[in-house]
Structures are given as structure tokens and as C-alpha cells.
């Protein structure tokens, strides 16, 4: 009946023991034979269930531990591609808090130490250790499956994984403290995107993200000057861009686009590609960029995308046309330093100097990164306010 003789035998014995305990107290049941069978069956089911749970949990924990030991030790993913892919999806499961997903991914796949992750995200090491322990415990106790989701779940789950990688990249690209760029985080995100792309070569958004990261990262050397000060896109020395990374990014983007399943990362990569492809700032195809931001706004609407679109329109058609579009976003973006910086820039171009200085001051108050603050301060001084 139960398929496992040992368990059945043990269960019957347990049922007899239970009978010895309860019958003298509660009286002998009407049908003692049936009572024994029912009790034995319940015991056996309980037992099987517990053993099954324990087996499953132990397995997950073992794999996690093994992969943690392996993680990031080498770039070669050919050895255990399935395990890595399963691990990415497990670490980025939507049932985990986003901070936990980022930390787990960096720890188990990026091979960063707890101390390094703590430093990257500006939290004390014990806090980060706690966060990792809690996340692993949840994977274990809540039964988060260690697997690549079945194909019907993939469309819902891939974007979450990409978001984690993009978050890691962005923390490196515009660090909230210290030097502007923390290359090691950017490079880690690129490495992980590469792994994911190699494992899921038919997902155009994965390749789109990899292309986007490469194109963004190609400007790293030109984004600050010798003194560590911020250099805006239009003032950057384009010969210092990493043209190898740009070529690779453009090639990957082309491949992704041929699949004809556009998504937000492919569109952002296309925007980055237009910047990368312009030999001089004045060669930038701003109308096309504005149109792509329009596409992006439809695919993943957000006020920040609208802000970028407004800026692109200002660049394409003139600041007097862009400014009202930027200012319309003041309600939602009032706490965002780049909103005030963008507005200030347009006011400056329109020669409305005192208003521009005022807006730069707001941006300065809100900006967290010292390099960005230094830049904004420079602009305020320049306007003589």
C-alpha cells in the first residue's frame, strides 16, 4: 500500500505503541483492526513527508554550498552551465527581497566576499552577513526551487534576473559614494550577463542587456578627467572610449534585434549605440534617440524615461521645446538630482542664468556622489551666483 516496506512495518509498530497508550485511557475502539491500519497509515505518510522534505532541503543546501565555493573562481562556465543557470534563477527568485537577490547573486555567482559586497552597498559587514543568511534560510525553508523555471514561467522571471544584473552594474556606474565609477562592480555585472547570454543564447533581452552594459562601460575612462572630475558626454574625449567594447556591443545588439522581439534593454542599448556611433557630439542623432525614448516609455513607462525623452527632444528641437516637457515632470521627480540638473542645463542654454543657478543648487543638495557634487558646484560658480 505504501510502497516502502520498512516504513510500513515501523508505522504499524508505532500504531501498536499508540494503541497501548490511548486504549486504556480512551477505551478500545469499535473496530480495533481498522484503527491500527488507519493510525499506521497516517504515521507512515507523516514520516514519508518529513523525509522527503528533509531530502529536498539538504540537496538544495549542498548545491548552494558547492556553488558558493566554486563561484567566480574562473570565467569558464562550460563546466557546470546548468548549475550556474539554475543558481542565477534561484538567487534572483522574486520571493526574495531585491537587496537579498543582489547580495546572493554577487556572493554565489560573482564570488565576492561578504565584506566586499557590504562595502559595495555601504552597509556594515554583519548586516550584509545577516542578509545573506536570511536569504539562504528562506530559499531552504520556503522551498524556493533550485531550477531554471519551466518555459511558461520564463517570460515572467527573466526580467527579474536582468534587473538584478543591471542594478549591480548601475551601482558601479554611478556609485552613491566614493569615486564615480566602481569598475569592479560594472565588470562583475558584465561577466554575469555574459554567462547568462551564453546559457540563454535565444533570449534577445539577455543579449540586449549585455550590449547595453558594454556600450555604457566603454565610456568609463572618459567620464572623469585626470583630476577625477566629472566630464559630461558632450565634453568627453571620444578617443578614450573603449572601441573594442563598443564594437562588441554593436555586434551583440544587431544579433539581438534580428530576433525581432524588442524589449527595454535592447532599446536602451540602441540609444547607447547611437551615442557610441557619433564621432563628434554634434553628429549625435538626437531625433532618433528621442524616438527610441518614446518606444522605451511605451515598453516600460517611468518618469525617468520621460525625463530622458524630454532632454533628447531639447537636443533635437531646441531647449525652448524641451524645457516645458522637463518641467511637467517636476511633481514626481522633485527629489531626483538629475531632474534638477537637466532643468538647470536647459535654463542655462536659454541664458536664464539665475534660474539655472537655482536649479543647479537644488541638484547639488540632492546629489550623493562627491564627484557629481563637485561638478554641480562648478556650474553654480560658473554662473556667478
Amino acid at each position: 500500500m505504501l510502497g516502502d516496506f520498512d516504513i510500513a512495518e515501523e508505522a504499524v509498530q508505532e500504531a501498536f505503541v499508540r494503541a497501548l497508550e490511548t486504549w486504556p485511557r480512551d477505551g478500545v475502539p469499535d473496530n480495533p483492526g481498522a484503527w491500527i491500519t488507519t493510525t499506521a497509515r497516517r504515521r507512515a505518510i507523516d514520516r514519508l513527508r518529513r523525509e522527503e522534505n528533509l531530502r529536498r532541503k539538504t540537496e538544495t543546501l549542498q548545491v548552494l554550498a558547492e556553488l558558493e565555493a566554486l563561484g567566480g573562481s574562473e570565467d569558464d562556465v562550460s563546466g557546470i552551465p546548468d548549475d550556474r543557470l539554475r543558481l542565477i534563477f534561484t538567487c534572483c527568485h522574486p520571493a526574495l527581497a531585491i537587496e537579498a537577490r543582489v547580495a546572493l547573486t554577487l556572493r554565489t555567482l560573482g564570488g565576492l566576499t561578504t565584506r566586499e559586497i557590504a562595502r559595495a552597498f555601504l552597509v556594515p559587514e554583519p548586516t550584509m552577513a545577516q542578509r545573506l543568511v536570511r536569504a539562504k534560510r528562506k530559499i531552504h525553508e520556503a522551498g524556493i526551487p533550485y531550477r531554471v523555471p519551466p518555459s511558461e514561467l520564463l517570460p515572467a522571471r527573466v526580467p527579474g534576473v536582468l534587473a538584478v544584473l543591471y542594478l549591480i552594474f548601475n551601482e558601479g556606474y554611478a556609485a552613491s559614494s566614493g569615486p564615480l565609477v566602481r569598475a569592479e562592480l560594472c565588470e562583475e555585472a558584465i561577466r554575469l550577463a555574459r554567462v547568462l547570454d551564453r546559457l540563454m543564447p535565444r533570449e534577445p533581452e539577455v543579449r540586449g542587456l549585455l550590449a547595453l552594459l558594454l556600450l555604457q562601460h566603454s565610456r568609463r575612462e572618459a567620464r572623469t578627467d585626470a583630476g577625477g572630475d566629472l566630464v559630461l558626454l558632450e565634453d568627453q574625449d571620444r578617443s578614450r572610449w573603449d572601441h573594442e567594447a563598443i564594437d562588441e556591443g554593436l555586434m551583440l545588439l544587431d544579433q539581438a534585434l534580428t530576433v525581432r522581439r524588442p524589449g527595454p534593454y535592447q532599446v536602451q542599448a540602441a540609444i547607447a549605440a547611437l551615442h557610441a556611433g557619433a564621432p563628434r557630439p554634434e553628429d549625435t542623432d538626437w531625433p532618433q534617440i528621442a524616438a527610441l525614448y518614446g518606444t522605451l516609455a511605451r515598453l516600460s513607462p517611468s518618469p525617468v524615461v520621460e525625463l530622458n525623452r524630454a532632454v533628447a527632444i531639447a537636443m533635437a528641437d531646441g531647449p525652448e521645446l524641451g524645457l516645458p516637457l522637463v518641467e511637467a515632470l517636476g511633481g514626481v521627480l522633485d527629489g531626483y538630482h538629475l531632474f534638477h540638473a537637466a532643468r538647470a542645463d536647459l535654463l542655462r542654454r536659454l541664458d536664464r542664468r539665475s534660474e539655472a543657478a537655482e536649479a543647479y543648487r537644488r541638484a547639488f543638495e540632492l546629489a550623493a556622489n562627491p564627484v557629481e557634487r563637485e561638478y554641480l558646484l562648478g556650474r553654480i560658480t560658473e554662473l556667478g551666483a
Binding site: R43, R49, L54, G143, I144, L153
Partner: protein, 122 residues
């Protein structure tokens, strides 16, 4: 693994306040959902609870039993029912929660059942 789906919602919004046809539809949705859970082989148990108007809270303090009318805590959304499921993993439990009719207007909290390896006994 076993999971409990705790179904929270605003109990002031009562199905009985709906027009009869809509109420019928709502009931139908819940019946169909329970059937689907059974077909999946996940259903262990499931019930709706009476409103918190009918709740009684009991505490024992210093050997004394304190019985009060009403729920343990006043909240905006109240526990209105539950399902106990036996599934393979959290993804299945989350899928079950997303299909629950209550998810359309309330929230479903998914909690794994903790299994103890306590010594068996009387």
C-alpha cells in the same frame, strides 16, 4: 512541502452586498478554484472564515483566562479564509496564490508549514 495560503481582504466589502448575479459569479469562481487545486493534487484543506465580528480572542495571563470580543488586532485587511496545500515547491504555491479569486481584490500571504522532527508520543 505544505504551504498555507492566508487570504486577506477587506471584510466590509461583502459578497452579499453584490447584486445576486455577481455574487453567484464570485461563488462560482471560488468553487472552480477549489476544483482546480484538487485536480492539481495540491488541496489538503480550505475554508472560509466568518467575519471578525464573530471572533473571540483568548489569552491566559497569570493563570487567568481573558476572553474578549473581537479579533486579536484591528487591521485594514482581515484574514477571511485559508487553503492548506501540498505542493512540490514555492513556485507551485505562488502559482496557486496568483490564481486565487481573493488575489483580485485582497492579498494572499503564502507561508510554508514548518515541519518538526519532534519525538512522537501520546
Amino acid at each position: 512541502m505544505q504551504y498555507m495560503l492566508l487570504i486577506y481582504g477587506d471584510e466590509k466589502v461583502r459578497p452579499s452586498d453584490l447584486p445576486p448575479e455577481a455574487m453567484q459569479q464570485d461563488m462560482q469562481a471560488w468553487f472552480q478554484y477549489s476544483d482546480w487545486l484538487r485536480e492539481q493534487g495540491w488541496m489538503v484543506a480550505g475554508d472560509a472564515l466568518h467575519d471578525t465580528d464573530h471572533a473571540t480572542t483568548v489569552r491566559v495571563r497569570g493563570g487567568e483566562t481573558l476572553t474578549t470580543d473581537g479579533p486579536f488586532a484591528e487591521t485594514k485587511e482581515q484574514l477571511g479564509g485559508y487553503y492548506l496545500l501540498e505542493c512540490e515547491n514555492l513556485d507551485q504555491a505562488l502559482e496557486a496564490a496568483a490564481r486565487c479569486p481573493g488575489a483580485l481584490y485582497g492579498s494572499i500571504e503564502v507561508r510554508p508549514i514548518e515541519a518538526f522532527d519532534a519525538p512522537e508520543g501520546g
